[in-house]
């Protein structure tokens, strides 16, 4: 008998009392009922609590904000599908510091290791938990590009902010490669105190675009 058959057989035997399958009581909140201003306020509060840096700008001012945040970066990477219009303006157009990554022309891990920062969009954000979800869409790119560089600049559109987790997960396709990010990398492994800055990006800049 194969291991598969044998394990399934053991489990069926263990369940010979045919336990009842309960109805799932989903009495928990399905939505937050917050308006746009409240969603932004809550998300900002939670992001700052995680030591992420947050700026709120009008959509037209996103390129200027990105340029400002990249001022100290010697190099940065963007996914090939980054929203057109985010890399405009005198500093960013024709910027020699910029590398572009895509599935068809991926940068190597060693190349990414030499890059200071990464600029991406995001799929959805959860205000209540301060979480940003990346789903590998063209404006977010491969998972490696938001992991290896030490500084992640992430643009969240106001329309993509959900109040609570059930609302956010309802907007996501679960079979895509997903990364949920809540603040910069951190650990609680020494005396259970949270310390920011381990293996993931140590600086997380969130630009909320109205």
């Amino acid at each position: 008998m194969s291991a598969r058959e044998e394990i399934l057989d053991r489990i069926r035997t263990a369940l010979k009392d045919t336990p009842e399958v309960p109805v799932i009581p989903r009495g928990y909140r399905a939505s937050s009922q917050l308006d746009e201003a409240e969603l932004i306020e809550l998300l900002v509060d939670r992001l700052i609590d995680y030591k992420a840096r947050v700026s709120i700008v009008d959509t037209a001012d996103v390129p200027a904000k990105i340029a400002e945040l990249l001022a100290g970066a010697g190099s940065y990477v963007v996914p090939a599908g980054l929203d057109a219009g985010w890399l405009t303006g005198p500093e960013l157009e024709q910027d020699s510091r910029r590398r572009t990554d895509s599935v068809t022309a991926p940068l190597s891990v060693a190349e990414l290791d030499g890059i200071d920062a990464v600029v991406t969009g995001s799929a959805v954000a959860v205000a209540e938990t301060g979480t940003i979800i990346l789903d590998g869409s063209p404006n977010q790119g491969r998972r490696a590009i938001t992991l290896v560089p030490d500084h992640h600049i992430c643009v969240v559109k106001v329309a993509d902010i959900a109040g609570i987790l059930p609302e956010a997960l309802g907007r996501i396709n679960g079979t895509r490669p997903l990364t949920m990010i809540s603040g910069p990398s951190a650990t609680s492994d020494i005396e259970l105190e949270r310390v920011e800055g381990v293996h993931g990006p140590r600086t997380l800049d969130v630009i909320i675009a109205r």
Partner: protein, 506 residues
């Protein structure tokens, strides 16, 4: 690999690091001798308790989430064969490869075989209870494969050649100064000026592991959840070491217990609210990664999952105990446990310490395995673990159930009545009649005599010796409560104050 002739007899128990090799009272006695350990644990468990209470009290629907979580897990157990097959079909359809492992040895052999097939001799690892349970690192080392733990606490434990003592924070028994000393002693190329500042220590771990992450070809992980309706796996973590392992290598091998399934994507909304708040006391952990088989051009292209039984089917066969399999390994129960707080995790022997370990380990190995029958007694039955459990596992009830399984298993073996049998029969005889009890109470002065002038009994004989091992019994009173009551209520001439002698009624 395990082979069986014909049908094996059920249940089939688990093997690996699931046993206490020393009885809990003995091991606890050893650990209690370490005052530094007690101080470290007291500090850490109290820190996390406060954080958990704060973030839990923020949610108006916490109890609704617990109810949903509990019911979802109950439904998973009832439908397990069907859900496993559904998960397998979805994961396989998207390019993943599934392997089934009956026990620890079989799982270890599968993982080693997969690593060997890549031609590599090392692998990076994400902290995983399942691989700890099967002793994977030790097995790989015997096979000439180096497994590097990348979680900070696991790294501390591995560098110190120690054993984990907590399921979330394996190095909870070490304080920051001890961690610095371990790094200075064991970490190659570490800054000799390293301080005990946790941020500096985390920075040292980053520098130490960076090269490993960037060059690793094979990663080994566990999984927190597996979604049957999509074939998706999830790893919940903090540091980014998980993302490194799940994203950069070419080959990813995940080892997961069969009970980790959730039926649908929607169920994740419940567990991703319950788990971070219960484990690290955060609204959300820094990073969660989800993957469904292989995604072309993004992440490992060679994706394996080892589905592990190793005694889980045996636990499932116990109708009273099967809900122990609902555990999502958050560790809230150990953080609130007065016993764990004092003895620490090593006293439990098994990979799974604390209240959940005290039920899970004997359920997976059988109560008669080594010293695991001592674990259900490692509790005062105060119920704090049940209150803290995000999926409402009734740990105290299962502890009591397993105590009775233990007593029954011993009764079957011995023809001659034990001291406990004799004692229980005597108690049953005495307590079933007021006259008999009254007669026995006449013997109280004898107890006073035995107590001697300091009015303490410090050593009882036989099995009662366990009671006086760590405490004294005060001398019995001159008269029994029943005698006192009689005088009080049937002799109207006696003033109550005079009849009540405080010294004699402790």
């Amino acid at each position: 690999m395990s082979t069986f002739l014909g049908m094996p007899s059920l249940p089939v128990y688990g093997t690996g690091n699931l046993h206490a090799s020393q009885s809990f009272p003995k091991a606890a006695h050893r650990e209690l001798g370490n005052a530094q350990l007690r101080a470290n644990l007291g500090h850490a468990t109290h820190t996390i308790r406060d954080k958990r209470l704060n973030v839990v009290s923020e949610l108006p629907d916490w109890e609704n989430l617990r109810d949903a979580g509990s019911a979802i897990k109950e439904s998973v157990m009832a439908r397990l064969p069907e859900l496993l097959e559904q998960f397998e079909a979805n994961f396989t359809a998207r390019g993943g490869v599934i392997h089934w492992a009956r026990d620890a040895d079989e799982a270890n052999e599968i993982v080693a075989g997969l690593i060997r097939a890549t031609g590599e001799t090392e692998a990076v690892k994400i902290k995983s209870m399942a691989t700890q349970e099967i002793g994977l690192n030790e097995y790989l080392e015997e096979q000439g494969i180096a497994a590097y733990e990348t979680d900070l606490a696991e790294l501390i434990v591995q560098l110190d050649h120690d054993k984990p003592s907590h399921i979330l924070v394996p190095a909870i028994h070490k304080n920051r100064t001890q961690v610095r000393d371990i790094f200075l002693r064991e970490m190659e190329g570490v800054d000799p000026e390293l301080t005990n500042d946790p941020a500096r220590l985390a920075g040292a771990a980053r520098a130490h592991l960076r090269r490993k992450f960037l060059t690793a070809k094979v990663a080994v992980s566990g999984a927190n959840f597996a979604l049957a309706d999509s074939g998706t796996l999830a790893v919940v973590e903090s540091e980014g070491n998980g993302r490194m392992c799940l994203t950069l290598p070419e080959t990813l091998i995940t080892v997961m217990g069969v009970e980790k399934l959730l039926p649908t994507w929607q169920d994740l909304e419940v567990f991703m609210q319950l788990l971070p708040r219960s484990s690290t006391g955060e609204r959300m952990n820094p990073y969660t990664s989800l993957w469904t088989g292989v995604t072309e051009g993004d992440g490992p292209q060679n994706v394996h999952l080892v589905l592990l039984d190793n005694g889980r089917s045996a636990a499932l066969a116990d109708e009273m105990g099967r809900s122990a399999l609902h555990c999502i390994r958050c560790s809230a129960c150990m953080n609130v446990c007065p016993v764990y707080e004092r003895t620490g995790g090593h006293a439990y022997g098994s990979t799974y310490p604390g209240p959940i370990g005290a039920i899970l380990s004997p359920l997976m190995t059988g109560i008669q395995a080594e010293e695991n029958n001592s674990l259900p007694y490692a509790s005062s039955l105060c119920g704090a673990c049940y209150d803290a459990c995000p999926v409402k596992i009734n740990i105290p009830d299962i502890l009591v159930h397993l105590r009775s399984v233990d007593v029954d298993s011993k009764r079957g073996k011995k023809k001659i009545p034990t001291q406990m049998d004799i004692g229980m029969n005597a108690a049953s005889w005495a307590l079933s009649s007021g006259k008999r009890l009254g007669m026995l109470e006449k013997g109280l002065p004898l107890g006073r005599l035995a107590a001697g002038p300091d009015k303490k009994i410090t050593k009882l004989p036989g099995i009662a010796a366990g009671w006086t091992q760590s405490r004294d019994i005060p001398a019995p009173p001159k008269q029994s409560f029943r005698d006192w009551w009689k005088k009080e209520h049937h002799a109207p001439d006696t003033a109550p104050a005079a009849a009540y002698n405080q010294e004699d009624q402790p």
